[in-house]
Amino acid sequence: MNPYKAYNLYKKRAHKDTIIIRTLCFFATGVALAILFGIIAFIFAKGIPAINWKFLSTATSYEEQNFGILPNILNTVYITVLSLLIVLPIGIGSAIYLSEYGKQGRLLSVIRYTIEILSGIPSIVYGLFGALCFVTYLRMDYSLLAGACTLAVITLPIIIRTTEESLKAVDVTYREAALSMGVNRLYIIRTILLPCAMPGIIAAVILSVGRMVGESAALLFTSGTAYEMPKNLLTMYDKSGATLTVQLYQSFTEKPHWVPEDAPFAIAAVLMIVVLFLNISTYFVGKKLKRK
C-alpha cells in the first residue's frame, strides 16, 4: 500500500466549498453590521449636534418660535408606563389561563390562532380601531389614555404568546411534585411558574416597550399631536399629547421656518437613547422581581 495515500487521507486541508461559504457568510455579516451601524452613526452624526439643553428642557411654542421636546419625552415615558399597566395584567392573566386552566381543545386553538393573526395586523389599522373604539365610542377623546389603550392592544399578542410559551416551558415535573403535596394551582403559579417564566416575560416586555416607544401611526389617531407642556403629571392622561415619534413626524412634514433643519434627527437620536434607557431599566426591574 502506498504510504502517501494514508497520509493524504488524514492530512489537514481546507475544503474549497467551506472557504467559499465562510467568505460569503462573513460578507453577509459585514453588510448587516455596516447597515446597522451606518444608520446609528448617520442619525447620531446629524442629530447629536442639534441637541442642546434648551431643546430638551422646553416645550415647542409658536409664539416664542421655540422648538423643544420635553413634553414629548414625558408623553413617551408616560404612555409607555400607562400602556404596560394595562397590557401586563391582561396579557399575563390570559397567558396563565391559556396554559394552566384552559382545557386543550378547539376553542383554545381558535384563540391562539386569533392571537397569531392579531400580531400580523399593520399598526395603522389598530390606530383606526383605537380612534373609533377608545377616542369616539368610549369618549376618551384624543388623549394619552386612548393612545396607551391602543398600544396595549397592539402589544397584547406579544405578551400573551411569549408568557404562555415561557409557562409551557417550565419543567412539568415541578407541577407534578407541587400538586402531589396538596397545594393548589394558584400557589404553584405564584411560587414556581411565574418566577421560572420571568426571563421570558421580561423579554416580552422589552420587545413591547420597543414597540410602544417606536409606534407613531397608531398614535396619530389616538393620543393626538399636542405639543404643550402638561400642567400636571397625575392628570395628564386625559390630555392629547404627541410622543417623540409623533413629534418627529410633525417636525418633518410641517416645518415652520424656525424649526431647525436637523430637528427630526435630534429627536431620532433622543428616541434611540430613550429606548436604550427603557430597556435597561426593564431589565433591572425584572432582575429584582426574579430574585424575590
Partner: protein, 251 residues
C-alpha cells in the same frame, strides 16, 4: 396487621386503554410494599390512584374504591388536595424546585399556613434529618437545591414530601436515576422511614424489592397477578408468570 389503605375492585381506563383491572389490595401500616412488573403493566398508574394524581390527566375513568382512613378517597365530596397532603409522593427523576434547600422543604408547610419562623425551622430540620440529609446540607440551607448531587436531590425530594408528615409515602422508581451508592443510601433511608410512615414503592429492580420490601405485588398487563409476603414471592410464587418474571425470564 391493619390495612392503612385498601383498594376494592379498582379499575382505571385511559380512554379505551384498560390500564388497571379489578385490583384488590390491602397495604399494611409501617410496611414497605413493592410493586413490580414489566414496563407498561400499570405500576405507576396504580401508585398514582392512591393519592389521586391521575385526576390531572385528561380522559381518565376510575371505578371501584380506594379506602383510606375509613373513607373512599374517590367519593365525590372528597377534596383530592386534602388526600395528597396525607399521601406524599417521590418521583423517578429528582425534581427539587429551583429555589433554596430550605424553601424546598418549607414549600408545602408554607402553603398550609405555617408562618412562624421557628416552627418552619423546626419542620425543615426534622424533615431533613429524617431524610438523612441534614448533616450534608445544614450549612447550605440557603443555597440553590439544584447545586446538590443527584442522590442528595432525591433525598431532598423525600424531605420535601415528608415535611407535612404524611401517613403514606409513594415512591415511583425513586432510585432508578441514581448511582448504586446513592441507591443504597435511599434504601437504608426507606427502612428507617417505614417506622414512621408507610411506604409503597415501584421498582424495576428485583433485588431492590427483595432487599427492602415486606410485601410484593406483581402486576402484568393491568392485572394484579400475585400479592404476598416478599419472601414468598421470590422463593415460591404461586403463579407461573410470577416465577418467570422474578427469575428474569421476561420484563
Amino acid at each position: 396487621m391493619m390495612a392503612i389503605i385498601q383498594t376494592k375492585k379498582l379499575n382505571l381506563h385511559y380512554g379505551d386503554n384498560h390500564a388497571l383491572i379489578d385490583i384488590d389490595m390491602r397495604i399494611n401500616k409501617h410496611e414497605i410494599t413493592a410493586l413490580i412488573g414489566p414496563s407498561g403493566c400499570g405500576k405507576s398508574t396504580f401508585l398514582r390512584t392512591l393519592n389521586r394524581m391521575n385526576d390531572i390527566i385528561r380522559d381518565v375513568k376510575i371505578g371501584g374504591e380506594v379506602v383510606f382512613d375509613g373513607v373512599n378517597i374517590y367519593d365525590t365530596d372528597i377534596d383530592p388536595m386534602s388526600i395528597r397532603k396525607k399521601i406524599g409522593m417521590v418521583f423517578q427523576k429528582p425534581n427539587p424546585f429551583p429555589m433554596s434547600v430550605y424553601d424546598n422543604v418549607a414549600y408545602a408547610p408554607r402553603y398550609h399556613k405555617v408562618k412562624r419562623r421557628i416552627l418552619l425551622d423546626e419542620i425543615v430540620e426534622r424533615s431533613l434529618r429524617q431524610a438523612a440529609l441534614w448533616d450534608e446540607v445544614k450549612d447550605r440551607l440557603k443555597k440553590s437545591a439544584l447545586s446538590l448531587s443527584g442522590g442528595q436531590q432525591q433525598r431532598l425530594c423525600i424531605a420535601r414530601a415528608i415535611a407535612l408528615e404524611p401517613e403514606i409515602l409513594l415512591m415511583d422508581e425513586a432510585t432508578s436515576a441514581l448511582d448504586p451508592i446513592s441507591t443504597f443510601k435511599i434504601e437504608d433511608l426507606m427502612r428507617e422511614l417505614k417506622k414512621t410512615y408507610t411506604v409503597v414503592m415501584v421498582t424495576h429492580n428485583m433485588q431492590q424489592a427483595a432487599r427492602i420490601s415486606d410485601k410484593t405485588a406483581f402486576f402484568l398487563l393491568g392485572d394484579l397477578v400475585e400479592f404476598n409476603d416478599t419472601e414468598q414471592i421470590f422463593r415460591s410464587p404461586a403463579h407461573k408468570k410470577t416465577l418467570e418474571y422474578v427469575s428474569g425470564h421476561f420484563g
